[in-house]
């Protein structure tokens, strides 16, 4: 007698629990929510088995103990906080923290065995004669992702990658949500058209400025260059980049890749892009220097450690620290 197979029971609730749990929503702090709001849509959550995580709102250490791999999406400033504050208990020999490869110099010697590096690699790169049909240009038009100098640099680099004729042939779409620049201090009125002028001057006048929901609704960004103007001070691995790359967009070909990285694994996270994971040769690189050793740091540390200035937006010390650390690394020509 043939035994009837049981029916396949479909329970999407399991997916909900898994997706929800792995995205750590239950641990989201008020500060994290505030930052996420300022950085929306760039700092929104996305899913991958590498447990992408933003620590900028203050990481819950007990939560970080729960998994063996964390991909830290943060940029320069939250990472420097993290490697100063995080207890050494997190290094149990098995747990790995993946940090964007641009920030290899932030890893103190005691952490180096627990850190690997990552980069997002699309299936297509543009530049050097490979011209996309479309270009999506994005960022936040204030100091949050890139200050005006960084903006100028990024736009001129982009323009230099293509000829005038090539740029003319592309459909250019720009999306720059206007946010208050509270991350660097008290908000001031800002004439944001100076950013638009830079785009027009360096690229062309015929540029579309659609709303976010229009950009989000298209599932097809093949043959599209995604170009994000983001210095990486706050968030490096943005959800906007994830969205475009997972829908087929490519990136601009990088120059001057350092050879101290050795790729050890490639993990596909969408039909069109991978996360590459690297080891870094610390022995043959610049020695680590603590960015917080500057003479001004005792004052700064005192403020943080006393907890007299909670980590909320618009605090003077944050403005000072942000400027300080960016200038420090620029002076060292590391970024």
């Amino acid at each position: 007698m043939k035994i009837k197979e049981p029916n396949e029971i479909i329970q999407w609730s399991y997916d909900f629990i898994q997706s929800f749990y792995l995205n750590n929503s239950e641990t989201q702090t008020d500060t994290e929510r505030m930052y996420a709001h300022y950085l929306a849509p760039f700092a929104e959550k996305y899913y991958s088995p590498l447990n992408p995580f933003l620590i900028f709102g203050g990481a819950d250490i007990s939560h970080l103990m729960k998994k063996d791999v964390w991909l830290l999406r943060d940029g320069l400033i939250p990472l420097s906080f993290f490697f100063k504050d995080a207890p050494l208990d997190l290094m149990d020999g098995q747990r790995k923290f993946l940090v964007h490869k641009d920030f290899w110099f932030l890893i103190p010697p005691e952490w180096q065995k627990s850190v690997l590096f990552y980069d997002m690699i699309p299936s297509t790169f543009f530049g050097n004669g490979i011209v996309p049909e479309k270009m999506v240009l994005t960022g936040i038009a204030n100091d949050t992702l890139a200050d005006i100098d960084e903006f100028v640099q990024a736009i001129t680099d982009l323009a230099a990658a293509f000829t005038e004729k090539e740029i003319k042939s592309m459909q250019i779409i720009a999306y720059f949500p206007n946010k208050r620049a509270d991350l660097w201090g008290k908000w001031q009125d800002e004439n944001i058209f100076k950013y638009a002028k830079l785009i027009f001057k360096n690229l062309k006048l015929d540029i579309e400025f659609p709303e976010w929901d229009i950009l989000q609704s298209s599932m097809d960004y093949q043959n599209t260059l995604y170009y994000e103007i983001n210095s990486g001070a706050i968030v490096k691995d943005t959800s906007v980049q994830q969205m475009f790359l997972s829908r087929g967009a490519g990136l601009l070909k990088k120059k001057n890749e350092t050879t101290s990285f050795k790729m050890i694994k490639k993990h596909q996270i969408s039909l069109y892009h991978n996360v590459e994971i690297y080891e870094f040769d610390f022995k043959n690189s610049l020695p680590y220097e603590n960015p917080l050793k500057d003479d001004l740091m005792p004052y700064f540390k005192k403020i943080i450690e006393k907890g007299t200035a909670p980590r909320v937006l618009s605090e003077g010390w944050e403005k000072w620290y942000g400027t300080y650390i960016k200038k420090y690394y620029k002076a060292r020509k590391i970024i």
């Binding site: 396949e8 029971i9 479909i10 909900f16 899913y47 991958s48 596909q268 039909l271």
Partner: protein
């Protein structure tokens, strides 16, 4: 007869509606000389637009209605939501003075339950015809209607979303060339899914069942065409995050052995020309979808237009395509049980072992394609629409308490994004009361009992 057809000024954000709308518009343009069809375009983002802008475009619509004095007002697209347009219209015109109204209903009828409730309040007693694309959607909407008479409700008609015969057809040369490109031998058997790769579409379940298929004399392949999306099942309160579906799919692929992996192909998103070639190149189409607003199924319809054999879940509009004689479309049994939806996947295995053992002849495939298009093409639907337009519209008695409950449950979900027991799939629940109408086997049993 004078018709004023209101359509959206921009393309829908939904891939299927981008196809449905122009095809449905063509049905109206082909109505012939007995019908004087005028069009009025409304911006989709009317909800977000400035009041001044709304006032001016609604005023233009009021003018158009007054000048034209149409016999019927037709809402042909799903956006902007028709009840919302009527709400704006009510500020400038007495709605009761409008001519009889025809609404083409889409799967998002339940999404806009709150707006339709408003419509119910203000339009009770007005002559209204709802047109759904399938019997299942018709039954689902009927569940929400007030019934005052013993006779069957005559406010609802059925007109499928037609397939454009110049876009989808079977061409044997396209099949041969594409299979050659894909290095698929004539003896190989290709199973195809095309559409969104989304949680409620259960493409991961299909992949799991594909990996369990027993070996036959023919090498069996799985082709998946479409973009991954992570809308989850937000309607039920199940939120998802970008990247989740791909990771879930990838983890199943990681478990496949290299030989199995070599027989699975993910194409990503393709345009309609490429899609037609892929459909021609495949031998069998399937979808395990249990999507909450699967009111029709444009992707299976376009596949059937290429004469492909298929098996679909007995869910929503998919049952419209079931036919074992003229074309071959079977249904996979679905139940709503104690723990959620249940799929009888055994049906899939037995159909595959049966179908893959029979070599499909080119002529048979052509015949099936033509037979399907005899009923589902744009031209076939022109005649059906004329039949609907000839009927005298009935007075609308309003929506019942069930729609009110639905709207309340849904609005709770939007604000909190958490489980909603009320809308969770389970037997003898509110969900069951509404969604039993999406299972043709249950509709048939019910009609026999009555």
């Amino acid at each position: 007869m004078k018709l004023l057809v209101i359509k959206s000024a921009v393309e829908s954000k939904w891939g299927s509606c981008r196809v449905i709308s122009p095809n449905l518009h063509q049905v109206y343009t082909k109505l012939g000389t007995d019908y004087d069809v005028s069009w009025f375009e409304l911006p989709e983002d009317i909800m977000k637009a400035e009041l001044k802008y709304n006032v001016s475009c609604i005023a233009a619509l009021v003018d158009k209605i007054a000048t034209l004095n149409p016999d019927r007002l037709v809402f042909v697209d799903h956006l902007p939501p028709p009840p919302l347009v009527l709400a704006y219209l009510s500020m400038q015109i007495n709605l009761k003075k409008l001519p009889p109204i025809i609404f083409h209903l889409y799967g998002d009828f339940t999404y806009f339950s709150k707006e339709w409730l408003y419509f119910s309040e203000v339009m009770q007693g007005h002559e209204v015809t709802f047109i759904t694309a399938s019997v299942s959607q018709q039954k689902l909407v009927e569940e929400f209607l007030v019934v005052k008479k013993i006779e069957p409700i005559s406010n609802i008609e059925k007109l499928c979303f037609p397939v454009n015969s110049s876009e989808y057809f079977f061409n044997v040369d396209e099949r041969n060339i594409f299979r050659k490109e894909m290095k698929i031998s004539e003896n190989d058997f290709v199973i195809l899914y095309s559409g969104r790769i989304s949680l409620q579409k259960n493409v991961d379940v299909l992949l799991r069942e594909f990996l369990k298929l027993k070996s036959t004399s023919r090498k069996i392949h799985l082709w998946v065409v479409g973009a991954f999306d992570d809308v989850g099942a937000d309607f039920l309160g199940y939120e998802s995050y970008p990247g989740y579906m791909f990771s879930k799919f990838q983890s199943l692929l990681d478990d496949a052995n290299p030989e199995q992996r070599s027989r699975i192909n993910l194409f990503g998103l393709k345009d309609k020309n490429e899609l037609r070639k892929i459909k021609a190149g495949a031998d069998f189409f399937t979808s395990f979808s249990l999507y909450h607003d699967e009111d029709y199924g444009m992707s299976p319809a376009e596949a059937l237009a290429t004469g492909i054999k298929c098996i679909l879940t007995d869910w929503g509009g998919y049952s419209s395509f079931a036919n074992k004689d003229k074309w071959q479309c079977d249904l996979l049994s679905v139940e709503i049980g104690e723990f959620g939806h249940e799929l009888v996947v055994e049906d899939f295995h037995s159909v595959i072992s049966e179908v893959s053992n029979v070599k499909d002849e080119e002529l048979d495939r052509q015949k099936r394609a033509l037979a399907f298009m005899d009923e589902f093409s744009i031209d076939a639907n022109v005649k059906k629409l004329k039949d609907i337009l000839r009927k005298s519209p009935e007075k609308f008695e309003g929506f019942n308490w069930k729609l009110d409950q639905f709207a309340n449950a849904l609005n709770q979900n939007w604000s909190k994004s958490k489980f909603n027991k009320f809308l969770s799939p389970k037997i003898h629940s509110y969900y069951f009361t509404i969604y039993k109408n999406y299972i043709s086997k249950l509709i048939q049993e019910n009609s026999h009992e009555n």
